[in-house]
């Protein structure tokens, strides 16, 4: 049966809403409709106030674009953690109000379950067991999924997330936030000629990206490095990015083999990185695994992924009570 699900995501910077109506996805971010003011970074208090200002108009615009009335909604799904508590509270309170007023189920979604679900927006038949790598500015987690909706944490970063390492690498080269896409773009024009070891290679399924960041900083301080060469930034970006991406691919393959998995699921903001997409596809398929990843616009934070996770909760009858509280430090494994 076709359901109409509303998704709401307010865990950090972005206010996001989406509707999945009979498999058609309408997805909207506050940064798309000019409510975003230029504050540079994000002050938690300010983020909270901005979520409050944005969420009502954003929902109206979403329903207009989706051609869907409020009364047609069958359920409302919302991110309950992890994230900034003030920001989460806005989305959760809004979702509870809709659930209560419209007499529709409330579905509580973990932010990382949302990211993993982003792959199901475009892929229906994924063969389980699967390994999911959630890789972004804030997270680098490997999960085993015996089936849809079941998650076991296999490994995570012990210090910096991969996306943070890419961003700070760009900053060390003199580029502004967000630096991940800058490294990706520069690296395409360069060659990986500088020696960076693959981070935490012997560390099993855990990651560590703090050391490679320090290695880059120390390399830039060396006097014999030819910083004046026109290709210097491109070459060093290519070398640095390669080390980080190879670590992600290597450990994903190890997890696939150790767990006799059939499929690899790659999600999160860094899943938009072109080298990671290509290398994961190449190496995964060469080793006989199916590799799935969402389109780049579903990799960064969005609410379509929350609605998609909600659809799965609805089908499995996993409902949240109206007195549920958001939690800033929620673990996915214990939550599901």
């Amino acid at each position: 049966m076709d359901r109409c699900i509303l998704g709401i995501e307010t865990s950090c910077d972005e206010t996001a809403v989406a509707v999945i109506n009979a498999s058609r996805v309408t997805n909207l971010l506050s940064s798309q409709i000019d409510l975003h003011k230029p504050y540079g970074g994000i002050v938690p208090e300010l983020a909270c106030r901005r979520h409050i200002e944005a969420i009502g108009p954003l929902l109206n615009e979403l329903l207009r674009r989706a051609g869907c009335a409020l009364t047609q909604l069958d359920a409302v799904a919302v991110t309950v953690g992890p994230g900034l508590i003030g920001a989460l509270l806005v989305g959760v309170s809004f979702a509870k109000s809709l659930s209560y007023a419209l007499h529709i189920p409330l579905l509580a979604i973990h932010h990382l379950e949302g990211h993993i679900s982003s792959v199901f927006l475009e892929q229906e038949d994924i063969s389980f067991p699967a390994i999911a790598l959630v890789v972004s500015g804030g997270h680098t987690n490997l999960y085993k999924m015996p089936k849809r909706g079941e998650y076991y944490l296999l490994g995570k970063t012990l210090d910096d997330a991969a996306g943070e390492a890419l961003d700070k690498g760009a900053r060390l080269l003199g580029y502004e936030y967000p630096g991940g896409p800058v490294i990706d773009r520069l690296a395409k024009q360069g060659n990986p000629i500088y020696p960076f070891t693959i981070p935490h290679r012997a560390g099993g399924l855990n990651f560590s990206f703090s050391g490679v960041k320090t290695a880059l900083r120390q390399m830039l301080q060396q006097e014999n490095i030819k910083k004046d060469l026109p290709s210097f930034h491109a070459d060093i970006a290519a070398s640095y990015q390669k080390a980080i991406i190879e670590s992600l691919v290597l450990k994903s393959l190890l997890a696939l083999r150790q767990n006799n998995a059939n499929s690899m699921i790659l999600v999160g903001g860094v899943a938009a990185n072109s080298l990671l997409r290509r290398r994961m596809q190449e190496e995964g398929e060469r080793a006989g695994f199916s590799v799935y990843m969402p389109s780049p616009h579903y990799c960064t934070d969005n609410a379509a992924m929350i609605a998609m996770a909600g659809l799965s909760h609805l089908e499995r009858g996993v409902f949240a009570p109206l007195d549920i509280s958001p939690h800033p430090a929620l673990e996915l494994a214990s939550f599901s």
Binding site: C12, Y39, G40, G41, I42, V43, P44, E45, L46, A47, C48, P82, G83, L84, G86, S136, G137, G138, K156, T157, L158, D159, D160, A161, G163, E164, D167, K168, R171, L172, Y177, G203, S208, S210, G211, K213, T214, R217, P328, A329
Partner: protein, 153 residues
């Protein structure tokens, strides 16, 4: 950075350099970790610690030591640059904040509940805020190779 806790040699002692604060010369990342651990072990709750220093100086390593000293059980302590704030449980709770993505200077960080509570709060990139609650400032500077010059005031 994962074998830090295995080392047992104590921190170098504090050497006074001028009238303001105390300055230490540390040989490696392990020493930064151990210094954080000592601060954590002596914490009684309510401490707000500001950390200052360039990218890769070892601010997060100091907080990892701090967490070890606080007996944090739900680690590892990871960088909160993108998520802004992480909470941990231990002998005392730890709130780990990172202001890296903010544009300086901030009159408020909008996380006031963690500036006056029973836990310990560590704020990286503390030079980006003007809040008065920070009772201790730890500044970590490069001193060549892996060495660090740390000033506590």
């Amino acid at each position: 950075m994962h074998n830090l806790k295995d080392r047992t040699t104590p921190c170098p002692s504090l050497t006074q350099e001028g009238g303001e604060g105390a300055t230490l010369l540390l040989d490696d990342a392990q020493s930064t970790f151990l210094l954080g651990k000592q601060v954590g072990m002596s914490a009684a709750g309510g401490e707000v610690i500001g950390l200052i220093g360039p990218l890769g100086a070892g601010k997060t390593i100091f907080v990892q030591g701090l967490a070890e000293g606080l007996g944090i059980t739900n680690g590892p302590i990871v960088s909160p640059t993108f998520v802004i704030m992480n909470l941990y449980q231990g002998r005392l709770p730890l709130c780990h904040i990172d202001l890296y993505r903010f544009d300086a200077p901030l009159e408020t960080i909008g996380l006031d509940e963690y500036l006056n509570w029973n836990g310990v709060t560590a704020i990286e990139w503390a030079d980006k805020t003007m809040i008065k609650e920070m009772g201790m400032i730890v500044e970590i500077l490069d001193a060549g190779e892996n060495k660090r010059r740390i000033t506590i005031r």
